[in-house]
Symmetry: C2
Subunit: 310 residues, 2 copies
């Protein structure tokens, strides 16, 4: 494997998630903070037009706009489709219009760190989109430094194919919450910042270890680590017209990562009646009551625990 040549820190992929937007501004003023010895670090503002309007997006979700068929095809229109192509050119270089392969591909590796916040109570969460060695080692490394960190394995969610971080050979997401859209929360700002510095340190150590014959940094952490692996999503109860007929049950609100057992109350009707979870097994819901997911038909994302030994 080639060494990491470039790390991209992306903020404002969603225009109303302020943590990343203000961190990118800070790194612009103080670039030494994100400089490391054996790769270059770049910052990128994901969706400037949405940021100016303090909206998640203008026409469509930028973080679902990077599928190859959209990027190279003529059919995707709207601001985010154009912005996705711009970001792609910036990171991958120009490509012939009829090819998915970049022409001036760098022999080194790009890592993309994408910064998000959520209205769900996900604390400090690392999102990995695959079980590649890089991701597993990165998760273990970051967890050792940040013991409250949760790790969401989204490998089966589709994010690996359509997110901005799918552009890198390696990509991770940082998700913090609960934070309301359009709000800057100082604690989460600093927690995200500290996690970024650790991720950059990991990339530096990773390059060193690769040069010395792939002694994985995670070898320093022999403990098993719990990942939360995507298994599906659950929508709100709705009428035939698509209108909500119930809300997240009060006992489930802000209970991200807590076990949900068959029969547990999960929704509550507008008249106060509980609706039970009818799934066959215990799951661990995350993104519970995320504001941006009402329109996607997602009341929560279901995960199962996955213990990985190093």
């Amino acid at each position: 494997m080639n060494p990491i040549n470039r790390v991209w820190i992306v903020g404002g992929t969603h225009g109303n998630e302020l943590t990343g937007i203000y961190l990118i501004q800070k790194f612009g003023r103080q670039p030494a903070l994100i400089r490391r010895s054996n790769f270059t670090t770049h910052t990128l503002v994901g969706n400037p037009k949405a940021i100016a309007r303090r909206q998640r997006y203008i026409d469509t979700d930028l973080n679902r706009s990077f599928e190859r068929r959209w990027l190279t095809g003529p059919t995707a229109t709207g601001y985010e489709a154009e912005r996705a192509r711009e970001i792609c050119r910036l990171i991958e270089g120009d490509r012939p219009a009829d090819s998915a392969a970049p022409v001036n591909a760098d022999p080194g590796v790009d890592v993309i760190i994408d910064l998000h916040s959520t209205t769900a109570n996900m604390g400090l969460t690392l999102i990995v989109d695959s079980e590649d060695d890089f991701n597993l080692q990165c998760a273990a490394y970051l967890h050792r430094r940040h013991p409250t960190l949760r790790i969401y394995n989204s490998a089966h969610s589709g994010r690996k194919h359509d997110s901005v971080r799918s552009l890198g050979q390696f990509g991770i997401g940082i998700e913090v919450g609960p934070v309301a859209q359009g709000v800057l929360n100082a604690d989460f700002f600093h927690a995200t910042e500290a996690l970024i510095y650790s991720a950059l340190d990991f990339c530096q150590d990773y390059n060193v270890s690769q040069a010395y014959g792939a002694i994985a940094p995670a070898a320093l952490s022999p403990l098993p680590l719990t990942f939360y692996r995507y298994v599906g999503t659950l929508d709100y109860p709705r009428s035939a017209h698509g209108d909500l007929t119930a809300m997240i049950h009060p006992s489930r609100q802000f209970q991200d990562y807590a076990p949900l057992h068959p029969g547990d109350p999960i929704f509550q009707t507008f008249d106060g009646e509980a609706i039970a979870y009818t799934g066959p097994t215990t799951v661990y819901p995350i993104f519970i009551n995320e504001a941006a997911y009402y329109e996607k038909g997602i009341a929560m994302t279901l995960t199962e625990q996955q213990v990985i030994e190093f």
Copy 2:
């Protein structure tokens, strides 16, 4: 004083505050819930276009669009200006274009209950825009039934002149939080609903007491009651270009209604340095870190305690 003839319950004055929107839908399905014996109750959806887009507003804040000079003048343009005129016609009846006085004014009194949510930790708050007897008695009545209720006296804030509730002879606001924009929180949904029912009960009792010679319902509550009276607002520290240079200090986040003493930390720079409150007296901030107020230049609203004896 004439009796209350009509009570208007308004939801969705801001399109991304879901509590009121879904309560209005519920009352549409079950109108008996808001029916009382001695007035009629009406519901109103404030800003349908903004609701459809899950945005606070389309062109400008509807709840600042009811100043007389805007309503009757030819200069106000945009969706909310037009919607404000529509709502005004609905509640007050048609008026000559050159007059502020409604032509078919009902001899009875209109009460407007406007439903809101906030990203600040304001719990269950009643907003009164003046110290009229109706407001004082209503506050005392509701506080007796809902002991955790806070009462915000916004008489000096300008809301009395430009808000949707300024259209009624009497108007109150209900503000609940913290709730992220675009999120439905079951606990706050039910708390708002219960407070509405109590407010309707108060209006009914108020009419009865007026008929029997103004024996105020609040006479049943001899206890002094604490109001939080508007004294001003405080903006975030900003650069010469208007960019934020600091955030709400973590020790102040979600501390609405707690005393802020001179010298207390109030903001925190992006490098983690505390900025102290330099005001001359102890105040009680509310609307701390409200998402919708960044653009208004408001980091928090300052109030002072005002004890009212009945």
